[in-house]
Symmetry: C2
Subunit: 413 residues, 2 copies
């Protein structure tokens, strides 16, 4: 390998770095890192691990010859999720420990006195023959190990060869770029998660006085996301729907207890005030630049509009109702019917579907209703996952249930 | 310049790319981009512009010889903030329009027929002589112009020389790295802003029933941040305090109207229930992984603990009260005293300070109180910025004020 080709490789690495920086989805990023590392070093296979709590967690594996032979799906089954300690017990652990690239010509000829061992079990299970291997720790700018990738079986015209020594530097440059990209993707993920968590709490807070439970909010928003998915929306739009529907009832915060918690029927005047919760929600969410809050505002304002124009607050009709509103009213009514409340027990699924069907074209957009009904299995899964237990209901019923957590007490003690 | 030195430059560029990716603060990032671009191309000076709404907005300028001569501070004054169209009228606009690097040996010798002009006004104002210039558009992966940097006066032993042609590629590689780093920093900024916005709304929602105003929350949290600053906390910790104090009263959502809105004095039993708002807040914010929500929870739980141990809910004493709680009670009491409420007019600043002083050591941590009192100018500035107007108070008083915004109406019409 001559100098100018190495220079070209480095130039290419610049573009790889830019490509890695542009991927914010961690799973896709890890896949891309391993793919580029294999391409640059002409490796048949590879695996990638991330450091979590002082352990290496297996994340990705790729193998050209196995996936050619077995197909992508079967190949992935061969790799089970597993973790291993950062120690001399494994080659990856050793590389993470020493923070050095390890270039092994043939794993079957590792001398007895070498400080690491090769674990043959995977080769045996997958029917694969690992020979050459380059193990590269991904170090961040503070020289902390973020993860490790292993490149397996360098390919040449004649078959498997050892990895060129020149590739060690190239691979560790790539690993540095990968480390910062991974940390950035995790930062983005954390920021999104923290935001989602806050949105969820705003939703929970809104239901607090209404004696709804946190799980109602979770079911509701998951139904909405499921409907959005059935409409063929992008992953991002589905997620946005999940988030923004969490706040649909935030305006109930502005409704007096005397009306919100009245046991009997509301008078027409009380009902008029109750219906204001849509507009109050719109006000609380007004004027934000954030896309999720903009969509939340639309949902807060329109989740009681009915398809035939008899809903509130504006009596919008048909497609004039924003699609998010048409989705949310369906999820909301479905969950109200199928959940137990203080004043009523839950309807059976059969009864619920019958009642929903009666609302076809009057309350609900017929097209969206059909999509919803075509995904009952997903709906049932959401019900199972976020079902209500007796204690959950009690928790929201009594002031005396309120506790300060043990851990808090301990911390102060 | 020989080939191997170009290869070294590219290798160095890899490290620059990693460094840029690690900076999430946009202002610092832009500074670093220009600095590295100048270093790699041996440029005495440079300016950097970002694209905003189809215009180029001036962001950074650096000039070694001017800051040597005038000092950093004076140098910055020479550069005023300005914007220019993306058009042939300016060199930077031309580069943004054509998406090509422009390498000009001497701006004073630009031929008449060239499609761009050099604007001498800055040279005249700053007493600087621009000769060579390289103008580099920063293109993202979709080939969209994110911004432009101008490198001015390449330095050599003999003085100012034209920029080497070899640097064009190097600079545009750096520009690609810069573009993705800028987009990432902006994404991070947007995510944080959206989160802050949601936290603010959770705070506003909590005060909705209490007839507090959105500006109360803003003043409160800004007082808290100001106190945190006076304690010498890091910029990040100050920001965290700003955010997390926004939700201190979120637990009021769980208090019945009959108590929360009672006009007269509370009975001992009603007072006991009212005090639960600290614990309800703790419950709403319980169990989050997000640092800001963890700190919010501590504030919700402890912002009514008094320094002498006579506060609630736990009667913590002195330093056993988390410092965030000790800060928040001070900001809360100060704002309550100095604001007009339905049932009382505002006290004068003199009266407020006198009352605050009486709480020294009983309600308030004396050290934190002294810090607060030493920053009255900052406090007054916050009051001016987030003062209450008559209509703000009214807005929160009447259901009938509730409106659906005009723009919404128009969109549906």
């Amino acid at each position: 390998m001559d100098r100018s080709s190495i220079a070209e490789d480095f130039e290419e690495l610049l573009n790889v770095g830019i490509a890695l920086s542009s991927v914010h989805d961690l799973e896709r990023l890890l896949d891309l890192i391993l793919q580029e590392a294999r391409r640059l070093t002409r490796a048949d296979a590879g695996t990638l691990y991330l450091v979590r709590d002082s352990k290496l967690i297996f994340k990705v594996s790729q193998c050209q010859s196995l996936s050619d032979r077995l197909g992508e799906g079967r190949m992935r089954q061969v790799y089970q999720s597993y973790e291993m300690p950062i120690s001399r017990e494994s080659i990856a652990g050793y590389a993470a420990l020493t923070k050095k690239v390890l270039n092994i010509s043939n794993v079957k000829e590792i001398p007895e006195e070498a400080p690491y061992r090769y674990n043959r079990s995977w080769d045996e299970r997958a029917g694969y023959s690992t020979q050459s291997m380059m193990v590269v720790p991904m170090l961040n700018r503070e020289d902390k190990v973020v993860g490790v990738f292993q490149l397996i079986n360098a390919l040449s015209i004649g078959g498997v060869v050892p990895f060129l020594a020149e590739y060690e530097k190239l691979a560790s440059s790539l690993a540095s770029q990968a480390a910062v990209a991974i940390e950035n993707a995790e930062l983005t993920e954390d920021l999104k998660q923290a935001h989602l968590d806050t949105i969820f709490r705003l939703g929970v807070a809104a239901e607090y006085r209404d004696k709804e439970t946190a799980n109602h909010i979770k079911r509701m928003s998951n139904y909405c996301a499921s409907i959005a998915e059935s409409l063929g929306w992008s992953k991002e739009a589905v997620n946005m729907t999940l988030w923004s529907s969490l706040m649909h009832d935030v305006g109930k915060l502005g409704i007096p207890d005397a009306i919100l918690q009245k046991p009997g029927r509301l008078t027409p005047e009380e009902r008029r005030i109750m219906e204001y919760h849509t507009i109050i929600g719109g006000n609380i969410l007004r004027g934000s630049e954030a896309a999720v809050l903009k969509q939340s505002r639309i949902i807060a304002l329109t989740h009681h509009e009915r398809f035939d124009g008899t809903g509130y607050p504006r009596g919008l009709k048909g497609e004039a109702i924003p699609v998010e509103g048409r989705i949310t009213i369906m999820a909301d009514v479905f969950d109200a019917l199928s959940s137990r409340r203080v004043y009523k027990s839950a309807f059976s699924e059969e009864e619920v579907l019958c009642i929903m069907g009666e609302g076809r074209g009057s309350i609900f957009d017929p097209i969206i209703l059909d999509k919803f009904l075509s995904r009952l299995e997903a709906v049932r899964e959401i019900q199972r996952r976020y079902g209500e237990r007796e204690e959950d209901l009690d928790k929201f019923r009594s002031l005396d249930y309120l506790i300060i957590e043990e851990e808090e007490e301990r911390k102060k003690a």
